[in-house]
Symmetry: D2
Subunit: 417 residues, 4 copies
Amino acid sequence: MNSEIFERHESEVRSYCRSFPTVFTRSKNSELFDEDGKRYIDFFCGAGALNYGHNNEYIKNKILDYIKNDGVIHSLDMHTSAKREFIETLEKTILEPRGLDYKIMFPAPTGTNAIEAALKVARKVKKRSNIFAMMGAFHGMTLGSLSLTTDECSRGGAGVPLTNVTHIPAPYMFPELDTIKYMETLITDDHSGVELPAAIFIETVQSEGGIHVFSDEWLRRLRALCDKYDILLVVDDIQVGCGRTGSFFSFERAGIVPDIVALSKSIGGIGLPFAILLFKPELDMWKPGEHNGTFRGNNPAFVAAKAALEIFNNENIASETVRKGCISASFIEKEILTINPKLVMRGIGLVIGIDFAQLGGGDTAKLVMNKAFEKGIIIERVGRDNAVLKVMPPLTISDELLIEGLEKLRDAIKEVL
Amino acid sequence: MNSEIFERHESEVRSYCRSFPTVFTRSKNSELFDEDGKRYIDFFCGAGALNYGHNNEYIKNKILDYIKNDGVIHSLDMHTSAKREFIETLEKTILEPRGLDYKIMFPAPTGTNAIEAALKVARKVKKRSNIFAMMGAFHGMTLGSLSLTTDECSRGGAGVPLTNVTHIPAPYMFPELDTIKYMETLITDDHSGVELPAAIFIETVQSEGGIHVFSDEWLRRLRALCDKYDILLVVDDIQVGCGRTGSFFSFERAGIVPDIVALSKSIGGIGLPFAILLFKPELDMWKPGEHNGTFRGNNPAFVAAKAALEIFNNENIASETVRKGCISASFIEKEILTINPKLVMRGIGLVIGIDFAQLGGGDTAKLVMNKAFEKGIIIERVGRDNAVLKVMPPLTISDELLIEGLEKLRDAIKEVL
Amino acid sequence: MNSEIFERHESEVRSYCRSFPTVFTRSKNSELFDEDGKRYIDFFCGAGALNYGHNNEYIKNKILDYIKNDGVIHSLDMHTSAKREFIETLEKTILEPRGLDYKIMFPAPTGTNAIEAALKVARKVKKRSNIFAMMGAFHGMTLGSLSLTTDECSRGGAGVPLTNVTHIPAPYMFPELDTIKYMETLITDDHSGVELPAAIFIETVQSEGGIHVFSDEWLRRLRALCDKYDILLVVDDIQVGCGRTGSFFSFERAGIVPDIVALSKSIGGIGLPFAILLFKPELDMWKPGEHNGTFRGNNPAFVAAKAALEIFNNENIASETVRKGCISASFIEKEILTINPKLVMRGIGLVIGIDFAQLGGGDTAKLVMNKAFEKGIIIERVGRDNAVLKVMPPLTISDELLIEGLEKLRDAIKEVL
Amino acid sequence: MNSEIFERHESEVRSYCRSFPTVFTRSKNSELFDEDGKRYIDFFCGAGALNYGHNNEYIKNKILDYIKNDGVIHSLDMHTSAKREFIETLEKTILEPRGLDYKIMFPAPTGTNAIEAALKVARKVKKRSNIFAMMGAFHGMTLGSLSLTTDECSRGGAGVPLTNVTHIPAPYMFPELDTIKYMETLITDDHSGVELPAAIFIETVQSEGGIHVFSDEWLRRLRALCDKYDILLVVDDIQVGCGRTGSFFSFERAGIVPDIVALSKSIGGIGLPFAILLFKPELDMWKPGEHNGTFRGNNPAFVAAKAALEIFNNENIASETVRKGCISASFIEKEILTINPKLVMRGIGLVIGIDFAQLGGGDTAKLVMNKAFEKGIIIERVGRDNAVLKVMPPLTISDELLIEGLEKLRDAIKEVL
């Protein structure tokens, strides 16, 4: 492996390459290959951007055809046929069947662009500056999104105070505290010192925060709270949307309809930069060009996204995800949690965390991650103290590879503990 | 043309599609084609993202090969061979020949991500929160970048006060005022009310601001000012870098070396989302992961960028740009400015503005833009009151198409005036 | 009564004159007299500024003598003999006997000046911008203090977002939540989204917040928390210091030593504007003149304050306050709470609240206040919904007047309920 | 002199006592006396708070009578006869004769309280957060006022970024720049990056900024600018109002009417804390209690202020100030500026600066200040680098003392240069 050029020329800010110290050259479905030919099973999945696997053949061919035929690649917000087909497909196969009446915004192709746009919509429409976000949240790294994001390292990079956001304890943090009632008190108490928010931003599953699944009941009560006090509910479905939890949107299980939904990562699911913001039509109070971005018309990503939605529907990705999630959870319960009673599992669908907080925390999790890498498994750490291993393979992983990966992970944990 | 689906489902925020009301399906080099088969010469160039033309054959084939062979598409900041080759090529063919010793950061693939990262670097390293930015500047739309950006419409979308930035009059605004001396007074006067900045952000050519070229002398004095007071000089070369002004970096003409340089749009030049931040090694004080982004490892863009740099060097893009810029400026001077003495031309290389401020301003410019569109020219308005038409074709445009486009533009102006 | 000139010329911002609609001309000890000669017992006490009663004869004569002899009235922070004598008396009779080693700062003569100075000290010394303040708190109305203050009406006047403060639930708000543990979690959780504060500001008794007494145990745990995490503990003793709770400082009962203490209102206790900030010597990192104010050398107030401290010590104000507090609490318990079981009493020393929250809230409390005014009692409403009547007579009130006042208050409540 | 107790117990923040190192015990009219019996002529005048001299006999007797008779001392915003008489006198003798229709607000008794209230009024009424303030300005030390204040030392104490204010170059800073036109450009240029302000705050004479008098013409153009763009004009007349420039309000000379006027320091002129805010009736959109302060009803200050207004009118203070200003300016011109051609004089009425910027700056000015102190003159330094000596005696100083003081100052300058 020759990584010297990275060390010499690339910024110290790089991180994952330190966890997975090799040079990758090729990838296919759920596997990566490095330049020494070593094979890795991908339990990391591009941090959620590769739900349909690396170089998914169907999606890839659509992209190749499009580019070969000199389809428009870059169009800002001009109309293209590729964009039209994506909108039609999203509308017909995702929104309409779920009874969702959303306007679609293309805010520029990264998740943080979508969150920044959501902040603008919320503050503009409600004419309020404050926002509620949950402790444990990750919403992005640009200044607006970063003010929502909670991890100390990221916030420390800001260099200026992060303002206009009130962080609310997540429901799992203080079990004795009813966090919905807590928010209601902040809102109604005329001496709380906290301003009525324009919106509440949540991830229904805090993934970077350590795989914490918010209950259906809690989500429904949150929706009711927002309705009662004229607050917008914004769901950041960037990491756990697009099928990850066993339904297209992660909030479907609770039967709620957010006012605004941010999607990115796996809309196309093959790794091309893309993000959209969905919001109720009455919130569409934008002036033309009031938010923009050079790469908001990334047409290969439109093509990929249309193809991905076709796969999602034609290959029953939702139910497959539920099935594979069950396989994984069962395996972990029987084969991994039994290694040590202090191990904890949390998750939903195909995003499952194994928490080492009671077993040495991040240090142990790191040893396991390294050991797993040796064994050919790519798996990331998340959450407090980076103590949680996140099992997040492509939704299209074969049962065989899934089991192989889990077995190797089990072995890695055994060897470390 | 069927654009009904956009009107029904897409947010009101869309803007360019209102100026260019058709649906594009195909594009090649300097031409776009809509679904009725109508041809357009592209003087807009993806707002600077398509310096090498639509579907540039050399770049396109490299991308197709890479994807066909299941090259890794999405890698976050893990090492890939595609990334290594891009870094090597940038290093060997761009940085080393110019004596530039920069670390490279991949901050996520849009210009505003790079600017947000630059803000963090500057504030972190200098431990100061204030930043100087120039009136007329455009640096992006996320909250940090937006605080630098100056246009009223964009800022109005923020919904919260934009803070920690001091805007400095651009040199062309008050000719009687020495703006370098002005900044020095703000810095040294113990009663200015303005805090010492961590950095001064500039575009050497304000493009969105109306095609205002800052003089070499002014740039050199700015560099000296920054040196004298320990302030970082940040050049946002997102729109006018990558050859646009007749050299790879726009600041080369002044013989200065910025501390930080942001590049995006045309690094790859075929329209794939990509951005990098370059900074002096001593500024590389990042903690691992302190800034990140899901799509910072967009490998098809690495492949495109390597190919683009090869074209830049092999096809003498720099000198070609100078030559075509001369052709354009001569044509405009003789054929367009002569239409009415109140027309004003400004520019450098292949970014040239025709200012209608004295001739009805934005309203006139809009009529011309519409008329040009009818004649098959895509051209954008920028600057105060949107009164400036920006002539910005691909750098690889053929002389024939360039002349044809300029002639049609001339005819459009004649017809309107 | 002729109040027409106030209505015509004075701003609508005036408030107490609406509760007590008459024109006062004379006052003595615990009584006020209006221009119709009507007498009022003062259970309001200048919002805590008149602990020694109106025109306290001893203090008043000291002031008269000082002014008669052309003592320096206004001295900014120049040395005067009056200031020296105040410092000596404070040092000898208050600080030394309690083992308190504080530097004294004269930040300008209002409570909010002292709080603003405390904010500066804390942020400067700890190099952190965040501050913790308690929900229910009142710390003043200038922009820094106001960011700590919690009531909706006051905050609504700011006109800009109030930033750099995290509001913490007060211990009485969520009995199920251990608020010390809550703060510790915010501080230690690397995903709380809340920055380590420079200081925690508290009132040991939230007076404007509705007469909520923080327990000794809670205060001791707070002190320990601050020690553990290198956070400054700031006690705002502006309203409940200077003897009000039965000891000179309100925190003495808990046996804790704050890092910073703000005093104002009743240092002199006769109503002259005055405030001081006390802090541990190692925090005295001010540059000369880094904080100032024209009226920080109000010498008649120094003279009054010295005299007041003499009274405090010579007349056993502390123990007298405890005794009168017991009389009051007993009376209220037997004669008032028995009127309706939904009435709630809270308090300590001579600051006692009667809470009507369960009996119609602020509307009922207002009716009682008005009825009491008719009967010649001046009493203020505080707390959520202004539902709490605050019994706060001068500490020097005679037992007879105290009983008379309480009887009239009882009668007013009876008549209203 | 025994100042040991100050050094041991008082904060390092004290400043004037370092310039005037003695302990003062008595003062009368324009003279101070220290405890060694040494006499000082006061050219400092309590930073403008003692326009009628120390212990002015007329004012003093009114205060003594009021207190002797147990007048209400402290009343918050309740009605008192003393307050009514002050309002009547202000109305009849100051506002009505000048045709000024202002509402009066008592914001708490320090200048910075008044400025904070003015900021709230402006932002609330105009629903905008930005404010323009002039470079060189001093408006106070609490967080809102401090964001307007310009000197580096004061701002450095804030500990958080000071936001929502745009500082405008003062007209004397860049003579080549038309600062009214500059502001108009910031307001009208859609790419200035500067938000339309709610208000422009000015001192008509920057006193702490170094005695810079803004011209009548400039003030009139500023008033017109504010009218044209619906911006409030706020005059901070705290230091140079109340007769100091030769008319009651400092803006009378320009024939303009500000929307809001802040007064403090010398309303009473004997040194008691007091401040008022005047504003046009249509701006009185306060909710009751939306701004408050414990000491906003300082009745001895009302009594003093009424007496002071009587003196102002009965003793022709305005014309006397003009006359004594002429005497001073003539003396300085003939006797002091002639010492060295690099000395510069600026001023109006009885606020005159002697600028040592070209003669060693603050270091020289300090030597002169010290030498003058030795000779029995109290005089302060202001402005950039503290290089300007500010001649600011009581307006009631006798001609003899004025000349004596100026002679001693001349001698001090001679000896130092």
